[in-house]
């Protein structure tokens, strides 16, 4: 059972473009939605996270948009740079009591100079 579906699988944008990565979930008990960035040979690094009481959160060039009714959330990277080339994972976690993150399948982003 796939609890979170992530798309696209891969994405190529030009420098300065705004890649958008989407995730959809099924379980309404989820209430924590982080995005992680992973470079080759490294562990996932937390980029930004949102809870369902807000529809948007921005940290630097990274923005999460959250649509509770549609059970979808997305990551936008403003003014993308070649250094943003990495694999991005969305994740979900239910409310307190269980803290296990369920990850999406990942999106490999390539930002071309």
């Amino acid at each position: 059972q796939q609890q979170v579906k992530q798309s696209p699988q891969s994405l190529i944008v030009q420098k300065g473009g705004i890649p958008i990565i989407n995730c959809a979930y099924e379980n309404t008990a989820f209430d924590y939605f982080p995005w992680y960035q992973q470079f080759p040979g490294k562990g996932p690094a937390l980029l930004i996270a949102i809870r369902p009481d807000v529809s948007e959160k921005k940290e630097g060039r990274f923005t999460i948009s959250f649509n509770k009714s549609a059970k979808q959330f997305s990551l936008h990277i403003m003014d993308s740079q070649p250094g943003d080339s990495a694999t991005y994972f969305c994740a979900v976690a239910p409310d307190t009591g269980r803290r296990a993150l369920t990850f999406g399948s990942g999106t490999r982003l390539q930002v071309q100079p």
């Binding site: 992680y36 040979g41 562990g43 937390l46 809870r51 994972f89 803290r99 296990a100 993150l101 399948s105």
Partner: protein, 114 residues
């Protein structure tokens, strides 16, 4: 900035042998986790640990696996009777407190079973 450290970075083991993967979580963190990532696939939860006991485990975490906090700083994952399909990156993570506090990951141990 404090970080989660994992050793070794790469472990090569013969099938059937036991391995111990080691982690030093961030010092003031109370919750500890192990995840694994098979090459090219998504990160999968194995187990969470709090107050010296397992608080949650996935279907992957069967009797072959065990975790321990042998002292005040280390957190270990033991895999007994390793199988070829245990080959993966194993990530340790830790978080500060209750609720969905951010989980900080180490850079992982690449486990190769021959």
């Amino acid at each position: 900035e404090p970080e989660v450290t994992q050793t070794p970075s790469h472990q090569v083991t013969q099938m059937g042998q036991e391995v111990i993967l080691r982690c030093v979580p961030i010092s003031n963190h109370l919750y500890f986790y192990w995840y694994r990532q098979i090459l090219g696939q998504k990160v999968e939860f194995l187990v969470s640990f709090y107050n010296n006991e397992i608080s949650e485990k996935s279907e992957i975490f069967d009797d072959q696996f065990s975790v321990e906090r042998p002292d005040g700083s280390n957190f270990t994952l033991k895999i007994r009777s390793t199988k070829l399909e245990d080959s993966a990156m194993y990530f340790c993570a830790s978080s500060e407190g209750m609720g969905n506090q951010p989980q900080h990951f180490g850079d992982g141990t690449r486990l190769s079973i021959l």
